[in-house]
């Protein structure tokens, strides 16, 4: 599965398109880590446990989007975008969406 966030796949040509595919996750850490991050947040600086949470959520959202595209018979997703929103303190939503297409390498 090839993913790009531009309107084509360089070196490939688009044969068919199947429309919008998307995936989303809402994830929260447990309250112990929330407490630790709260203390860290008071002093400022990067919150490593929340960064990991964001990475996991992004992977999960992309995987769901890929599954949907595979069911449609696509082998690439173009114009992938991410949107994030805050649900409550300590929980974040990551939403990934794109257009599922079928591509073929250009000869020569």
């Amino acid at each position: 599965m090839i993913l790009t966030n531009i309107e084509s796949v360089p070196g490939y040509k688009i044969l068919a398109q199947y429309g919008l595919v998307s995936g989303s996750t809402v994830r929260a850490k447990n309250f112990v880590l929330d407490f630790g991050a709260g203390i860290k947040n008071t002093f400022g600086g990067e919150l490593k446990s929340y960064t990991e949470l964001l990475m996991e959520s992004r992977k999960e959202a992309v995987n769901r989007m890929k599954e949907q595209a595979q069911m449609m018979g696509a082998n690439a997703i173009i114009n992938v975008r991410f949107a994030t929103s805050a649900v409550t303190a300590g929980a974040a939503e990551v939403y990934a969406y794109g257009t599922a297409v079928k591509v073929e390498p250009v000869e020569g």
Partner: protein, 149 residues
């Protein structure tokens, strides 16, 4: 009275820790930006790719980071918010976060020649004035990495 003392002590402590953390973070960001200066070229607008050279791989790369604002900066921003104007304490946090996210994205695509159409998505997880805790910003940078044959 005791509450005021606690607030004053927290402000002083978080002012010191916050500025030390920020200074070190800027130092590491600058070092890594210099180290990557000849590595993948980042562009923010190109959507079409016109080149005669053969392409080996195309992939989506991302970089994410969550940065906490800190008690002192949030306090100053809340005060300044009453009078209006630039909130410099929050500006520096957002600037650090975005540069860090872009650096992480570039470090993932270290073998690539170009990263095109870079997008940055930001969300503040607790707004200013929220009761639960100080604000944090979560940032995702994404782009398409292109590697030549």
């Amino acid at each position: 009275m005791e509450e005021l003392i606690i607030i004053a002590v927290t402000l002083i402590v978080t002012y010191i820790t916050g500025s030390v953390i920020e200074k070190n973070h800027y130092k590491s960001i600058k070092q890594r930006e210099i180290a990557l200066i000849r590595k993948p070229i980042v562009s923010y607008g190109i959507k079409e790719w016109n080149s005669k050279r053969k392409i080996r791989s195309v992939e989506l790369v991302t970089g994410e980071v969550v940065v906490g604002v800190g008690y002192f900066k949030a306090f100053v921003a809340n005060l300044k918010n009453l009078f209006g104007g630039r909130l410099t304490s929050i500006e520096s946090v957002l600037d650090r976060g975005r540069r860090e996210a872009i650096l992480r994205m570039r470090e993932k695509a270290i073998g690539a020649n170009f990263i095109i159409n870079t997008r940055i998505d930001t969300v503040m997880l607790n707004d200013l004035g929220g009761k639960s805790s100080d604000p944090q910003c979560a940032i995702i940078a994404s782009g398409t990495a292109i590697t030549y044959e």
